[in-house]
């Protein structure tokens, strides 16, 4: 396999990349001083797809909520009845998988027998095997996983926010689905979904650790199967610009209310390079507005309306983009009012130069940190690949972002794009 090498002099890091004939992209970041190799093999398909037009068909196929996650669980079973974990166990690797709104990722880490484990990963992700019995058994296990999340206030407050912000976007559906929706899943649905979305052209394999890149390419060369590329179009309904619902509240048996503020954004419709720039400008704005060095943080903290859990983030993928501000508060309504007040203040008064520079500096330092953990590096490689940008290039906007870029982000901080989700404390808990 032919490969390319890109080097970043400032970070002292290299990325080796190649494309297998099947279409799978392979990225390797060598870390000769490290002990452990971390590998992720992922497909750009997650829970936020609920309808699509399958390859060679013209009708729309609907899939039950939770299918992507269910499929992830079921990939761990093989035709010969051998559990995939035991195959990794045999060579001392620790394996796992996860499903998010926009991707499904299979991963392992190991310090020995790297080649054997890489083979195991590639083989099992390319060998789906589902039966009625194994699907039924999984419904019990995932049913308990769903119930575990039902009792988690941090998860409930987030998912309620998503359904308040979005009218149609499937990102509002719980990643694991519901007990009812997963009951509809059959082996046929899983096979069809697999064949359409686990196409090699939709997948990337990323490695970070002491492994020799050429060894990685050799193992991929002999293990990856070539499959005809599929053409799938995901069907989405036009999402209104404004939020569906301004506020959503539930109560749970907890000690302190949880809140989540969501600001609906349409940055995901931009080109990959503009998205990457927007992501950094928005993150910088959030740091200036809500970071621990901001006047707002000090005001909220000192008035006792937030604690250390207060946080803000910007999520942007192909299907959605949203700003989320979250925390625990004894008075979420007052915290919300103060947050809106400070947003208006910054809209009126702008951003101080010194404040801009110091936040930019902090953000850059935090970003470089990604190279210190192989799992963080691999995940960043995979995510930037799916976003359509080069991993090293993804750092560039940290140096070039301007104050105007940041101020432009304030446009979406407006009432019609904002929802509030609260989980209150249930009275008479016990």
């Amino acid at each position: 396999m032919k490969f390319e090498i890109r080097e970043d002099a400032q970070f002292g890091e290299k990325i080796y990349s190649a494309v297998h004939e099947s279409g799978v992209h392979i990225l390797v970041c060598p870390k000769p001083l490290f002990t452990e190799n971390y590998v992720m093999f992922g497909t750009k398909y997650g829970s936020s797809v609920d309808r699509y037009i399958a390859d060679g068909e013209s009708e729309v196929t609907s899939i039950p909520d939770g299918t992507a996650h269910f499929l992830e669980h079921k990939m761990f079973e093989n035709e010969d009845g051998v559990d995939v974990f035991s195959l990794f166990g045999e060579y001392g690797a620790s394996a796992n998988a996860f499903t998010s709104f926009d991707k499904t990722v299979y991963e392992f880490s190991c310090t020995d027998n790297f080649e054997k484990n890489l083979e195991t990963l590639i083989k099992f992700v390319q060998a789906p095997y589902f039966t009625k019995e194994t699907v039924a058994k999984e419904q019990g296990i995932i049913g308990q996983e769903i119930k575990m999340y039902d009792d988690s206030p941090s998860w409930r407050v987030l998912m309620n926010l998503m359904s308040a912000v979005y009218e149609h976007n499937a990102v509002k559906n719980d990643i694991a689905g519901t007990v009812e929706s997963i009951a509809e899943i059959t082996p046929e649905i899983l096979y069809k979904t697999y064949n359409n979305f686990y196409n090699p052209a939709n997948m990337v394999l990323c490695v970070c650790g002491p492994a020799d890149p050429e060894t990685v390419f050799e193992v991929c060369e002999k293990t990856l199967k070539s499959v005809k590329p599929t053409h799938v179009s995901v069907v989405t309904e036009k999402e209104p610009e404004t939020v569906k619902q301004k506020e959503v509240r539930i109560a749970m048996p907890i000690s302190i209310p949880y809140f989540c503020i969501g600001i609906k954004d349409f940055g995901h419709t931009l080109s990959p390079a503009d998205k990457s720039r927007r992501e950094i400008a928005m993150t910088l704005l959030l740091s200036i507005l809500f970071g621990k060095s901001s006047p707002l943080y000090k005001r909220l903290y000192e008035s006792g309306y937030i604690n250390e859990s207060f946080d803000s983030e910007y999520n942007i993928s192909d299907n959605y983009s949203i700003v989320i501000i979250s925390g625990e508060s004894n008075n979420p309504d007052e915290a919300y009012a103060i947050i809106r007040e400070e947003i208006e203040k910054i809209k009126k008064n702008g951003i101080d130069d010194a404040e801009f520079e110091i936040n930019k500096k902090a953000l850059l330092g935090g970003a470089i940190d990604v190279f210190d953990k192989t799992d963080d590096t691999v995940y960043a490689m995979l995510s930037t690949y799916f976003s359509g940008i080069d991993f090293f290039d993804s750092f560039k906007p940290y140096y070039t972002v301007t104050k105007k870029d940041v101020l432009d982000m304030l446009d979406i901080f407006s009432d019609e794009y904002i929802s509030l989700s609260v989980v209150d404390v249930m009275e008479d808990q016990v």
Binding site: F34, E36, S86, G92, Y301, D372
Partner: protein, 428 residues
């Protein structure tokens, strides 16, 4: 592979220097050690929280964070953990190595100074801490003590341990107790502080690329003006006897029941049998190839998680699981049955080999984490030993099936805690 070098800085202060070129960041951790105590544990927790909100030179959260942002967004966090019978409180800072900053300047001294400013040069007015800060942090601490209940998995696990160890020093929570926190004020806390920092033992851990000389000199010059009289703490032997199995059920309006089983193993981290117990734990419920995962989760389809963990300092084995309420008896029987299987020698050679590989992989992967290096060094120091992981890996490789069966047969069930759901959550 790495080895910590232990360097005496001044009375009461030891530097543990770990050199590595792997990372782009350096990490400095400072930990005070003191015995767990029903009253002073709360004081120490509140104290570290108050110190982190401001010091004389950096008088509020914003000032502290401005300093951190200047250091390219250094990560600065307080620490408060329980290790066996002691409480360790302190702070840790992680900052970019000078080689990777645009101006190529080392931030070692500035980072060290930030930590020592916060820990040793607090904001004091008229012989007391700031009243407002103390009252906010008291409230936050009480909220945080009550917040255990917000994560039912963690809650059930903690509850099981505290019930199991209610008559032991280890049963004291490192977070503190609401009733004690209520009684503390800014004056009492400051009086406590003066005593606390003058009579203590402080361990400083450095992990990073700078030379030993640079680090030692920087630490020595920072500690020039600080005087500490060293103290020692008491350690109690792990409890092994069980009279009757304690069974406690608590009801709450939750969807999923949480079952926690606490066992006494009679083996602690520096015992000869610890390697065998570690392998037992992998086979029983730590790994996805374990009996709890493959039988109770996969075959019996009873739960999403069912796993075991060891509390190494106290020889406690804890099994946690989230289950459908009607399946409680089935799950408990399943969990106990798998232990019986191991006791009866129903362990294959493959299981032993796989468990060893799993464990060695876990140990070796910790070589890539600065935090794990600090944790290993701190655990060794608590045990009064100075082993390298390689020594322990050798012990692991020598474990036999007979060893695993023998340690399993020493295990006794002590406590069964069950958090039972009674209603569904209300939609408002």
């Amino acid at each position: 592979m790495y080895k910590a070098k232990h360097i005496h800085i001044c009375s009461g202060v030891t530097l543990h220097y770990i050199k590595t070129d792997k990372f782009k960041t350096d990490k400095i951790t400072m930990l005070f050690s003191a015995g767990l105590d029903k009253v002073y544990t709360s004081y120490r927790t509140l104290l570290i929280n108050v110190l982190m909100t401001g010091c004389r030179k950096l008088p509020d959260i914003k000032a502290i964070n401005d300093r951190l942002y200047e250091l390219y967004g250094a990560d600065f966090a307080s620490l408060n953990t329980k290790r066996g019978d002691i409480q360790q409180t302190g702070a840790t800072i992680k900052f970019l190595n000078g080689a990777f900053t645009p101006d190529k300047k080392s931030m070692l001294s500035a980072a060290l100074e930030t930590v020592t400013d916060v820990l040793f040069d607090p904001l004091v007015k008229d012989g007391a801490f700031d009243e407002k800060i103390v009252s906010i942090e008291k409230k936050n601490l009480i909220d945080s003590i009550r917040a255990d209940i917000n994560n039912k998995t963690v809650y059930a696990r903690k509850k099981c341990i505290s019930l199991m160890c209610e008559n032991e020093v280890y049963g004291i929570s490192s977070e503190g107790e609401e009733a004690v926190v209520e009684t503390i004020d800014e004056k009492k806390l400051y009086d406590f502080y003066k005593e606390f920092v003058s009579k203590t033992s402080l361990d400083i851990y450095y992990v990073g690329a700078q030379s030993e000389d640079e680090v030692v000199n920087a630490v020595r010059s920072t500690f020039e003006k600080i005087e500490i009289a060293p103290i020692s703490y008491k350690k109690y032997p792990a409890v092994y006897d069980v009279d009757d199995v304690k069974r406690i059920t608590e009801e709450m309006p939750v969807t999923q029941g949480k079952l926690s089983l606490g066992f006494r193993t009679g083996t602690v981290r520096n015992d000869k049998d610890y390697a065998a117990l570690s392998i037992f734990n992998v086979i029983y419920g730590l790994a996805p190839t374990s009996k709890l995962f493959t039988v109770v989760r996969e075959k019996m389809s009873l739960c999403y998680y069912c796993r075991s963990q060891l509390i190494e300092t106290k020889g406690i084995l804890l099994v946690s699981s989230g289950i459908e309420c009607e399946n409680k008896e089935k799950a408990e029987a399943g969990i106990l049955q798998q232990l019986e299987e191991i006791k009866n020698g129903n362990v294959s050679d493959d299981e032993i080999v796989t468990a060893k590989k799993f464990y060695v992989n876990m140990l070796k992967s910790s070589f890539d984490s600065a935090g794990a290096m600090v944790a290993w060094t701190a655990a060794e120091s608590y045990d009064g030993t100075d082993r390298e992981q390689d020594d322990f890996i050798r012990d692991i490789m020598n474990v036999t099936k007979e060893d695993v069966v023998r340690v399993a047969n020493k295990i006794k069930l002590d406590t069964v805690y069950y958090l039972k759901g009674n209603t569904h959550t209300d939609e408002v």
